[in-house]
Amino acid sequence: MLERLPSMIDGLVPAASTYARDIDGLFTLIFVSVGIWFVASQVIFFWLIFRFRKREGVPAQYIAGEQKSEKKWITYPHLAVLVFDVVIVVAAVRVWYDVKQALPEPQQTVRVIGQQWAWTFVHPGPDRILDTPDDIAKVNELHLEVDTLYHYKLESKDVLHSFSVPVFRLKQDAIPGRVITGWFTPTRTGEWDIQCAEICGIGHGLMGARIHIETPAQHAAWIQQQTGQSPTPIVAAARPQAREE
């Protein structure tokens, strides 16, 4: 449902994964929810400053704010804030569950390795299986096939890094000593930035990479060019199902 809300981020960074539109929709939902409160508070605030500016012969009123009839001006808004909070929590938790907790079955798996100060991306080779001799390792270049459900295995060789793909709205820290698994499904072709989002030393500012999302034909050609072999197609049956609502 969230993905049907208009996106305020799309104009700045395109949305190129299945869950990117959900995160954009969640942003819009929060923006509207807190926006109402923000604007209301500021309008009342400035109106009060204007309305009760000092005027000769008009003394201030004596209001302790301890009686129920006075306190309701605080109590009702604050209960209403609680309602808005619940709505936001429900939406946020759903998006989080989808992106970070649920782990749908992959069609392909890539390995992402952070180190001072570059990304190494290990792609499955023509056999389409990771950790076989025909894997394709590239530095600072990630090549993906559009509309394919990928798992990533995120590792770090030294310090903390963070694998951040703005067009996917995805971010995950890489921790030395751990392999963290997550997923994404690219939804549109193009080439964009990957950044390291966790400070990792002198070269942190240079630890950028590019993501290349390709059509099946382009991707097959790329594998062919890298290895000299033409890849087997990704099994059609393993294509991602339409996402349940």
Partner: protein
């Protein structure tokens, strides 16, 4: 309950004339210690501000020779942002808001002659000064200052081969640990003084809100800092003694540090927020001539905030590799904490209703705090919502959000407090006209710096990157960075107005009467400035601090010490 024995901290100092060194450097007088904290904090603020100027110049004009600094190398850039953050929080916000205002106001507002433990108070400042010296030395050791962000995440901070600043890292952690020790001592003093040394007749609900806030902030600090001091010692051991608490290759866990850090780090936000909320409460009641709306409700919301603030820390770590199921819990607690804070804002706004509002300099700052902090508050909701934080985490949206909280807290809070209590502290009035020029010259550029940074954050721009033109998708936003930097230059320029006003008013400002604002709280019944020992005869309290515009009285204020 409020029976008090006059405290006797300055017996050894006596009331005879003292030498300059004894009076100003080794004083046990709470007011002098407050000034020591304040001027040290302001000095550090100049350094932190200068750092911001240097790295903002680098971001707007990558590679240029920054005037007064030179070309910024990548590691210098990292060291500048690291120390800017650490200085502004640990060496500006804490000493100025908590220690300076706390030390100055607590005895004066409670009606006693000094802190309960004056010598502990002096020791607290001396340890703090030592932490400043250690930090300043760290900038000049081989390799330069620490450059791994103020959050000091290991293994970058723990292993010299990764950070390339082995000495700087150690000194940085040591300085932070010393600073914590100093504030532990100060905190004990604040809490004990407020509990034991109130003027006769001052009940718990007669304590001015700012004192309550500083006391609760001290309790929060003391309750949260323990794990981090332990963590800092562990980090020092990892750096220098070959232990492996945070080294995964030898069985440690780097994420442990993040828990220790943020378990302190989030309550810390409220440690600095509360004093400013208190300052704002004092100022809006005086200049709206209004009783504070729902005094007890404010106290309860502060207690609630304090308790909740211990349960939200992992919202800083949503994407840091914690168990994804944990994120749900921390999203709920984080959004819950918005409720007491929102309620407090509502109470402040409600206090204005029915007032008689004078817009002089202190009042402008206090009102600006409310208006600006609301932006900081509502933008926090985006980040507390786990699903949204996946995208927002570590972007400029986060950066803009916390500057919309910390700038109002630290900078606006300080200017509000100093312009309000300046007559009491120094016995002279500040120039209101210059004060207003300084106010607008600070507030307008402040918004022009950080609103554009929200947009950059939405565009996916990450923090702590020294040259964004290396990123094809981000390079196009360079004009926005130039705008933010230009606004910063304007804002820094306007601080000269404050400096001039401060010094000129010190020298030839109009002499301040005892109670220039016609306020109720006890500090205004002492001389301006109060002498050592504060009062010849300690005051007695007959009522709460916010009895303004009481019906049937001729004057619209009713000092706490005036017999009925």
């Amino acid at each position: 309950m409020a029976e008090t024995v006059p405290s006797h901290g300055h017996e050894e100092a006596g009331h005879h004339e003292e030498g300059w060194v004894r009076k100003y450097l080794f004083s046990t007088d709470h007011k002098i210690i407050a000034m020591q904290y304040m001027f040290t904090g302001l000095f550090m603020g100049l350094i932190g501000g200068f750092f911001a100027y240097v790295f903002r110049m680098q971001l707007a004009f990558p590679g240029i020779e920054v005037p007064l600094f030179g070309v910024v190398s990548p590691n210098e850039y990292n060291a500048l942002i690291t120390n800017h953050g650490a200085i502004m929080i640990f060496w500006v916000a804490m000493p100025v808001l908590l220690a300076a205002f706390g030390n100055y106001l607590i005895p004066l507002m409670l009606g006693c002659d000094d802190m309960v433990f004056p010598r502990l108070n002096r020791l607290s400042y001396q340890v703090f000064l030592l932490s400043v010296v250690v930090l300043l030395i760290s900038f000049f050791v081989p390799g330069g200052g620490f450059a791994g962000a103020w959050t000091m995440y290991p293994p970058l901070s723990s292993i010299g081969a990764y950070s390339l600043t082995p000495l700087g890292s150690t000194l940085f952690v040591l300085a932070v640990a010393l600073e914590f020790v100093a504030f532990l001592m100060g905190g004990i003093n604040f809490v004990t003084t407020a509990m034991n040394s109130r003027a006769p007749g001052m009940k718990m609900y007669d304590i001015p809100i700012v004192v309550w806030m500083i006391v609760i902030a001290s309790i929060l600090f003391m309750a949260s800092v323990g794990p981090l001091i332990a963590g800092a010692i562990m980090l020092l051991f990892d750096q220098n003694l070959g232990t492996a608490f945070f080294d995964p290759q030898r069985g440690g866990d780097p994420v442990l540090w993040q828990h220790l850090f943020w378990f302190f780090g989030h309550p810390e936000v409220y440690v600095v927020l509360l004093p400013t909320l208190g300052i704002v409460a004092e100022i809006i009641t005086v200049f709206a001539r209004k009783k504070l709306f729902a005094y007890r409700t404010i106290l309860y919301t502060v207690f609630a905030t304090g308790v909740l603030s211990f349960t939200v820390w992992a919202h800083h770590q949503f994407v840091a590799g914690i168990d994804p199921r944990m994120a749900h819990v921390f999203t709920v607690t984080t959004l819950l904490i918005s409720i007491p804070i929102a309620e407090m804002m509502f109470v402040y706004i409600a206090t204005l209703y029915g007032g008689s509002i004078t817009l002089n300099t202190p009042m402008l700052w206090a009102l600006a705090f409310i208006a600006e902090f609301l932006i900081g508050g509502v933008t926090g909701i985006f980040l507390g919502a786990s699903g949204e934080d996946i995208y927002m985490h570590d972007t400029y949206f986060v950066l803009a959000h916390f500057h919309y909280t910390f700038f109002p807290i630290t900078i606006i809070g300080f200017y509000a407090g100093i312009s309000y209590w300046f007559p009491k502290m120094f016995g002279r009035m500040m120039n209101d006209r210059l004060g207003k020029i300084h106010f607008w010259g600070t507030i307008i550029p402040f918004n022009l710096i950080f609103i554009p940074l929200f947009v950059l954050g939405l565009a996916g721009q990450h923090r702590r990157i020294y040259d964004f033109t290396n990123y094809p998708d981000l390079a196009a936003y360079q004009p926005v960075r130039v705008l933010a930097t230009s606004a910063l230059l304007v804002m820094l320029g306007f601080q000269v107005v404050f400096l001039y006003n401060f010094i000129a008013s010190l020298i030839r400002g109009e002499k301040a009467p005892k109670n220039p604002w016609q306020a109720n709280t006890l500090e205004w019944t002492a001389d301006s400035p109060p002498p050592h020992g504060n009062w010849k005869e300690l005051p007695t309290v007959y009522r709460g601090p916010y009895e303004y515009s009481v019906p049937g009285r001729k004057s619209d204020y009713w000092p706490q010490n005036e017999p009925a």
